[in-house]
Symmetry: C2
Subunit: 280 residues, 2 copies
Amino acid sequence: MPSPQPTPGSRGYIIPIGGAEDKVNDRRILQRFVDICGGEDARIVVIPTASQLDTTGPRYKEIFHMLGVKQVDVLDYRERKDTDNAEWLALIEQATGAFMTGGNQLRLSTVLGGTPVARAIRRQNAAGMAVAGTSAGAAFVSEHMIAYGRSGATPRAGRVSMAAGLGLTNRVIIDQHFRQRDRLGRLMTALAYNPFVIGFGLDEDTAAFIRADRQVEIVGAGAITVVDVADLEYSAMADSREGDAVDLIGVRLHVLSDGATYNLDTRKAAPAPLERPSER
Amino acid sequence: MPSPQPTPGSRGYIIPIGGAEDKVNDRRILQRFVDICGGEDARIVVIPTASQLDTTGPRYKEIFHMLGVKQVDVLDYRERKDTDNAEWLALIEQATGAFMTGGNQLRLSTVLGGTPVARAIRRQNAAGMAVAGTSAGAAFVSEHMIAYGRSGATPRAGRVSMAAGLGLTNRVIIDQHFRQRDRLGRLMTALAYNPFVIGFGLDEDTAAFIRADRQVEIVGAGAITVVDVADLEYSAMADSREGDAVDLIGVRLHVLSDGATYNLDTRKAAPAPLERPSER
């Protein structure tokens, strides 16, 4: 379960991004994240743990500096023992935003899971710090994380592996690079296990900005496919053998793009206003 | 509109197949088609017009012979003037089943559209002849045919091109090689133009056997993704510019595999019986 909020409504934004967010042009998603974190007065920690590349952390540091943020620190947790670093923990405790990069989400969960770092991020988010993650970082923000799974539009038993994530929210399961990697089947498989959660399939360069009141704003170049199985009439999951196609009857699906909103409590979507701002 | 049935309920099966149906092992789809056409007493015409390969027609002829059918004729319509061939028309008039191969569905519509051949197939199907089509042949059976379009899970304005098909049914739009080629987006785009029709996304080696009473049985190794937009709350299609992601709110989706059924009138799905037949 998410950390309790010290005061109602104090929770910071949770911002899963579908990967490959624009880093060189108008950078709308990263700019919005920076604005939420306080603009040039933001204090951002970058956690590149999912990535195996030494350049990932420094690259985001440079981008956030270019977006006007003065204080950006890269906390490159490589092993579990790194999570005791008191100086880095202090940086998290005073940050206004945390950004987790892409890579492999199992590196995030195996290195950070159950450590003081995970606890600090959870507590800080409950108190107001924004937490964004792209690709693997997006998968990790939720309680129930897709670890890996196969591509394809058809749900199949056993074709998705779940793991415990950071747990900033337990309302959604995130999948990323969604249409780029044809992942509807694996997301529906994950949801078929337990229809309580809502599936968010995030296209690349597309983000869900989840507010404290669980209203979600869609920002970016692609779309979010919201998969709602609350009214599922039938799921064959419990009776399927591994690899079987799983019959699902009554899935509800919304395709939402920039400017549209979705409410995690009411499970209602609303389109973007028709008169789009002139800067687009 | 489909040809009127000479007597109510006389219409033959309409059988779109998602492509790449099993041709060497148990050949369940082709066997079922043969059974419906009368088994060894069936009279089947193979129409390989969609294909550019000279071997396509003879290959299906050989397969149907192997399945016990004595009379199989390949009617290789290459140009519109071929459609006047009286001998071939007579074979259609006395056939119990017609099979249209894969290839390019625009070859089927441009060569056969509006000819005596199309009229004969439509009339014969209304009177009881089964009509199956695989891949391009599947796309062609419906009134509204997807001519071509781009891959991807997100519907985008202008990313699908429709054309008039053979029109054996106007209730469905067929898309084939569905999960293999990631076509949910283009199917949803096609439906967003007019929510009257129901989308059938057919995986490879998977077929919809549509009966005269518009009950549909699913047969094969994959699944059919039924996309029902009758209760769509919102479609951005009319206000979208070409290439825009199109917001859709309230899409209903069913994933149905072997043994499941769907009713085109009530728009209700039913799962396969749990106790599956022992021959599986």
